[in-house]
């Protein structure tokens, strides 16, 4: 493998990896405030992309994407208020089953609202044939959009959680919900907000990746399983580690695909998932003692 090939696979891995990272951050935001793994996270990504594709025929692209993100945020809010809030004292088993059901309903809703055709958003700049050359590798300008938007999203989230009042309140809820409530934080609203936020960033990720990977109504679960793998790799709840884990996962997948049959693309991430669950369920970056405690 020469340098150009390495750069080619590497860039493709980083592109996919940054999307996995965004999905994983979506998982983490909800997990931190509620302790729930939202199996419908992948569907939020696809809802965003599908809505933007339909709107882009009517309004300019930036407005279409903005509206699509708003739609996803609204959907995230509705999901929390209608379903999750009613099952507040439910066991983990019940919550898993509920979010699983929500994911099916959203997916089937999309199938009936749109259809099973593969669609995609237009390229943000240039067309599908325009390329840039980086280190001898040919890439589409859309790759730069994906990387830029992902980086901007992570930066914005960091600033939001660190410096705004609402962001700090959400972190307080994640830390200790009862204590946060005693301090006068509306914890119920924070849970709703966390669903809206994770749906919103998921939808944004869905829009920027759509020109590259295209979009179909049933792509949610495979994205969700990759996002979850990344979230576990980084340690559930740790958003910064999710970025590193996402890039790692993307690179691993890209280089594995250079050696393997394309039919087994999905299998790479699932094998990683099973390995990490069995060997280090608290993530690559967690201390060994914590791993042992969690696994016991």
């Amino acid at each position: 493998m020469n340098l150009a090939q390495i750069a080619q696979y590497g860039l493709s891995g980083i592109t996919n990896g940054s999307i996995y990272a965004i999905v994983a951050i979506g998982f983490n935001i909800v997990y931190n405030t509620t302790g729930i793994i939202n199996f419908a996270q992948g569907e939020f990504v696809i809802v965003g992309a599908m809505t933007a594709i339909s709107l882009s025929h009517v309004v300019p692209l930036p407005i279409a994407i903005f509206l699509a993100v708003l739609v996803a945020i609204l959907l995230g809010g509705i999901v929390e208020v209608v379903f999750i809030r009613r099952a507040r004292d439910a066991s983990v088993l019940r919550l898993i089953v509920i979010t699983m059901g929500i994911s099916i309903l959203i997916r089937e809703g999309m199938l009936h609202l749109w259809d099973e055709k593969v669609r995609s958003l237009p390229y943000f700049t240039g067309t599908e044939v325009s390329t840039l050359t980086v280190l001898g590798a040919h890439i589409s300008p859309q790759v730069l959009w994906v990387l830029g938007v992902s980086a901007a999203t992570v930066a914005a989230l960091t600033l939001f959680f660190r410096f705004t009042r609402t962001g700090r309140a959400m972190r307080a809820c994640a830390d200790d919900r009862m204590a946060a409530r005693l301090c006068g934080i509306n914890d119920r609203w924070m849970v709703t907000l966390s669903f809206m936020l994770s749906a919103g960033i998921g939808a944004l990720a869905g829009c920027v990746i759509s020109p590259v990977t295209q979009t179909q109504y049933d792509m949610g679960p495979s994205l969700a399983i990759k996002g979850f793998t990344v979230a576990i790799l980084g340690g559930l709840g740790n958003s910064m580690a999710a970025v590193a884990a996402g890039l790692l996962m993307g690179l691993l997948e890209a280089f594995a695909l250079s050696q393997l049959d394309g039919a087994y693309k999905e299998a790479v991430s699932i094998v990683v998932l099973l390995l990490i669950l069995v060997l280090r369920p608290s993530g690559l970056f967690a201390r060994r003692e914590i791993s042992l405690l969690r696994a016991a």
Binding site: I37, F83, R86, A87, A90, V92, L93, R94, I96, V97, I98, M100, G101, I102, S103, I104, L105, R107, E108, G109, L111, H112, P221, I225, F228, I232, D261, A263, Y264, E266, A267, I270, V271, L273, L274, L277, V278, P281, A295
Partner: protein
């Protein structure tokens, strides 16, 4: 006396099965029996899953994988052609034991393949072994981690049957021969065998129910319930929680594989759609509606919902219906439909024990 009382529902169930056949025969609606038979085989999966979810309290989002392992193993073994090897001592020896049988395929060419009963045994053992290997690491996980790990297992099985040429890729395997049982009975989906197969399927279901009921009322069942209520408490009382959970996982996988083998021989084919995650979720939904730890409720709902789905009652909303069922049950009636106040009286009469 108590021991016999637990079989009262089995006798009642058998009576219902016979009554149903009489009614369907009298109203000239025997064609419904085909779907009822198929539903009965799917019910084997949910009976096993009920033991795992309702009694051991562990979730599995990969049971369609075990169903597919059973079905595909049997399909591959009974459709392979060993004619080229017929002179080798091993094949000749297997033939003298009845492990390998000669038959004619669809086009009249003679083939030599593994006997269905041998394939059945191999399929169950394979499913049990895979469940053991997967279960050993995975069953230690809790909650979300276990759900995701079993989901991952199901996805891998799906990818393998979809990608591997030996499993027919997207086409699956067809022309699976009928499964000859003793006394001229055979698992065969063709119309002349309809009534016979209706009873074969229900005999299999009742056998599975008797096994499950005995398991639940045994020392193992008590240990499992204690794990479900409080794993720490059970552990501190000396229950080997890991071993009980693992063996229940294996038992439920074998139940699912048995359903897979029988349905594959009944349909004469199996395809990758049997291994999808949606199928696994469907089984979980049925166990949830039936009331997790209520074997008879789960059996009833399993047969009813699969029957409606196979008849196409839900149309294009088939998957959506199961998704909606999941959410509604978990939010409104986590104890299952039969445990809702309206159904309580009925349910306690049905299962023959009072509810506390």
């Amino acid at each position: 006396m108590m021991r016999l009382r637990r079989y009262v529902p089995v006798v009642a169930g058998a009576a219902v099965v016979v009554a149903l056949q009489v009614v369907l025969g009298a109203t000239d609606a025997t064609y419904y029996m085909t779907q009822i038979t198929m539903s009965a085989y799917y019910a084997l999966v949910v009976i096993g899953l009920c033991l795992l979810m309702g009694y051991a309290g562990q979730v599995s989002l990969g049971h369609a994988g075990f169903f597919a392992i059973g079905g595909y193993t049997s399909a591959v073994l009974t459709t392979c052609n060993l004619l080229a090897y017929s002179d080798t001592p091993l094949v000749a020896w297997c033939r003298s034991l009845g492990l390998v049988v000669a038959r004619q395929d669809l086009y009249g060419a003679s083939t030599l393949s593994i006997a269905p009963w041998a394939a059945f045994v191999v399929a169950l053992v394979a499913a049990g072994l895979i469940a053991l290997l997967i279960g050993m690491p995975v069953i230690r996980l809790k909650g979300h981690y276990l759900a995701m790990a079993t989901l991952g297992f199901g996805l891998i099985v799906y990818r393998i049957v979809l990608g591997a040429p030996v499993f027919g890729q997207a086409d699956g395997i067809s022309n699976v021969p009928p499964f000859e049982l003793a006394c001229g009975l055979e698992v065969n989906g063709r119309a002349p065998f309809r009534v016979e197969n209706y009873y074969i399927a229900w005999a299999a279901v009742m056998a599975a129910m008797i096994l499950a009921i005995n398991l639940v009322h045994s020392r193992v069942g008590r240990a499992l319930r204690s794990i479900h209520q409080s794993e720490e408490a059970a552990h501190s009382l000396g229950v080997n929680t890991y071993r009980y959970k693992l063996s229940t996982f294996i038992v439920s996988a074998v139940f699912a594989a048995a359903g897979g083998v029988l349905l594959t021989h009944y349909n004469g084919s199996i395809g990758p759609s049997e291994a999808t995650v949606m199928k696994s979720i469907r089984y979980v939904a049925i166990v949830a509606v039936g009331g997790m730890g209520n074997l008879w409720g789960v059996l009833l709902m399993g047969v009813l919902l699969n029957f409606l789905s196979l008849r196409g009652v839900f149309g294009t909303y088939d998957d959506a219906v199961f998704g909606a069922i999941l959410i509604a049950m978990m939010i409104l009636a986590p104890q299952g439909l039969l445990k809702m106040p309206e159904f309580r009286a009925l349910s306690s009469r049905f299962s023959g024990r009072p509810h506390g």
